[in-house]
C-alpha cells in the first residue's frame, strides 16, 4: 500500500472491490469489464441504478484524488463535475477502446485541469477547451475499434505493479495523484532528478515488457 500523509479528512483504507452485479456480461462481450458494462447502460439507457453503482465505486476515489491534488475545499465539487461529465459522455464510451476505470481516470484528470484553468484565468481567454489538449481514450475516430492490448493493459499493469519496489510506486503515485512534476517529486523526496527519472524509467520498462508480451 502506498504511504499517504495523515490528513484531517476521513480516509478509509479501501477493500478490494467485490463486484456483485446482477447483470452478467453477455457471452459475446466476455472481455468487457463490469464497470464498462455499467457505463454502457448509462450511455444507452440513462440507467440510474448503473450510474449509482459507478458513483459508489469511483466517487470516493475521485474525492481522494481531488484532496491529494490540493483541491480539498473543492473535492465534493470535483466529484460532482466528474460525474456530470460521465453522465453526458457515457454515450461516447466504447468498452472496446478503453477500460471503464481508465476512461473515468481521464475524465477526472480533465475535470481537475478544467477546474484549475477556470480558477486561474477568465473564461474569455479559453478558446481551447481542456479536452482539445488532453485526450480521452477512444475519442480518436481513426483508431481501430478493437485493440486487445489496450483492453488487457490495465489488468496487466495492476498485476505488475505489485511486483514493483515501493520507491518506484511512490514516485509514480506523486506524479499521478499529487500533480507533481518529476522535478517537484525530486525536491520533495530530497533526491536528485536523475534518480526520480531512473525510478520511473525502471517502472515503465517493466510495464513496457508486459506490453510487448501482449503483442506476441
Amino acid at each position: 500500500m502506498i504511504a499517504t500523509k495523515t490528513r484531517s479528512h476521513h480516509v478509509t483504507v479501501k477493500e478490494r472491490p467485490v463486484t456483485t452485479l446482477d447483470q452478467q456480461p453477455a457471452k459475446s462481450e466476455g472481455r468487457k469489464d463490469p464497470w464498462g458494462a455499467l457505463l454502457e447502460r448509462v450511455g444507452k439507457h440513462q440507467d440510474r441504478e448503473a450510474y449509482q453503482a459507478l458513483f459508489k465505486q469511483f466517487a470516493p476515489q475521485i474525492k481522494y484524488y481531488a484532496i491529494s491534488n490540493g483541491l480539498a475545499s473543492h473535492a465534493e465539487e470535483l466529484v460532482q463535475e466528474v460525474f456530470i461529465s460521465i453522465w453526458r459522455r457515457s454515450c461516447l464510451y466504447d468498452w472496446r477502446k478503453a477500460a471503464a476505470s481508465t476512461w473515468i481516470f481521464t475524465i477526472a484528470r480533465n475535470q481537475r485541469i478544467d477546474m484549475l484553468r477556470k480558477m486561474q484565468r477568465s473564461s474569455a481567454e479559453m478558446n481551447v477547451e481542456t479536452e482539445d489538449l488532453w485526450q480521452i481514450p477512444g475519442d480518436n475516430e481513426n483508431d481501430p475499434v478493437t485493440s486487445l492490448h489496450r483492453l488487457m493493459s490495465e489488468r496487466r499493469i495492476r498485476e505488475s505493479l505489485s511486483h514493483l519496489p515501493e520507491e518506484q510506486i511512490t514516485v509514480i503515485a506523486k506524479v499521478y495523484m499529487e500533480h507533481k512534476s518529476h522535478q517537484m517529486v525530486a525536491d520533495e523526496l530530497g533526491i536528485p532528478l536523475g534518480t526520480v527519472k531512473s525510478r520511473v524509467r525502471l517502472a515503465l520498462n517493466k510495464l513496457k515488457v508486459i506490453l510487448q508480451d501482449q503483442n506476441v
Partner: protein, 212 residues
C-alpha cells in the same frame, strides 16, 4: 535529446495532466497523428487509473448522489449527451486562422517568427511559431535545455536526419545544428521554451529551433 516521438517520461507527465497548456498542445498535436504514441498514452492512462484505485478513498458527503441527480434532472443542458464533434486541430482553434496566414515577422534571412505566449495562461514559458522558407537555411546555433518543438508543416533536415510534419523534437545546449527546410513547403514549427527570453532594447535575440 528526444527525436521524432516524445519520450515515455514526457508522455507520463501528459497522462498525469501535469504539463503546461503549451506543452500539452505540442503532445496533443503529435498524438493526433501518431497511433504509436496514442497507444503509449492509453497504457499510461491505465497506469493512472490503477494508481487512483491503489490509493485510499474518502467518503463523499451525505446526499452527494442525490444532489447530483437533482442537477441532472434540473436542466437538459446539464444532462444532455455530448455529441461526437469532428476533431479540429487545437492549434488552429487557438489561432483562429491558418498558420500560413499569420502576421509573421521576418527575423533574419529565411527565418520568420511569431510569439504566441500571450495565448497561454502560463507566463513562465515562451511559446513561439517559427517559419523557415522552403529551401531556406538557418545559421548554425545551439539550444537551451528543455525545449519542446513540433513540426507543423513541411520538413527540415540537419546532420541528425530529416524531421517531417508532426515529428516531435527536444533539443538542448548540446545540439548544435544548422537546419535546412527541405521539400517545396515552408517549414513551420511550434516551440515551447522553459524560460522567457529577455529582449533588451533593439537587440534581437534569435529563437529556436532554427536560430538563436
Amino acid at each position: 535529446m528526444t527525436r521524432h516521438h516524445p519520450d515515455s517520461l514526457t508522455l507520463m507527465e501528459y497522462s498525469a495532466g501535469n504539463l503546461s497548456e503549451a506543452r500539452a498542445l505540442c503532445i496533443r498535436l503529435h498524438l493526433d497523428q501518431c497511433p504509436h504514441c496514442r497507444s503509449r498514452v492509453d497504457t499510461l492512462d491505465s497506469l493512472g487509473a490503477v494508481m487512483m484505485d491503489h490509493q485510499p478513498t474518502v467518503s463523499v458527503d451525505d446526499g452527494s448522489f442525490e444532489q447530483l441527480m437533482a442537477r441532472i434532472d434540473a436542466g437538459p443542458e446539464m444532462a444532455s449527451p455530448v455529441a461526437y464533434k469532428p476533431r479540429q486541430n487545437p492549434l488552429q482553434k487557438l489561432l483562429g486562422q491558418d498558420i500560413n496566414d499569420l502576421p509573421w515577422k521576418r527575423q533574419l534571412g529565411d527565418v520568420s517568427v511569431l510569439d504566441i505566449t500571450a495565448k497561454f495562461g502560463d507566463r513562465s514559458e515562451q511559446v513561439v511559431l517559427q517559419k523557415l522558407s522552403a529551401g531556406g537555411k538557418a545559421p548554425a546555433h545551439t539550444h537551451r535545455g528543455d525545449e519542446t518543438t513540433i513540426i507543423l508543416q513541411g520538413a527540415f533536415s540537419d546532420q541528425n536526419g530529416v524531421f517531417n510534419q508532426w515529428d516531435f523534437v527536444c533539443l538542448d545546449h548540446n545540439d548544435e545544428h544548422r537546419p535546412v527546410a527541405v521539400g517545396h513547403e515552408d517549414c513551420i514549427t511550434l516551440s515551447v521554451l522553459s524560460a522567457p527570453l529577455k529582449l533588451t532594447g533593439t537587440f534581437t535575440r534569435f529563437l529556436n529551433p532554427f536560430i538563436r
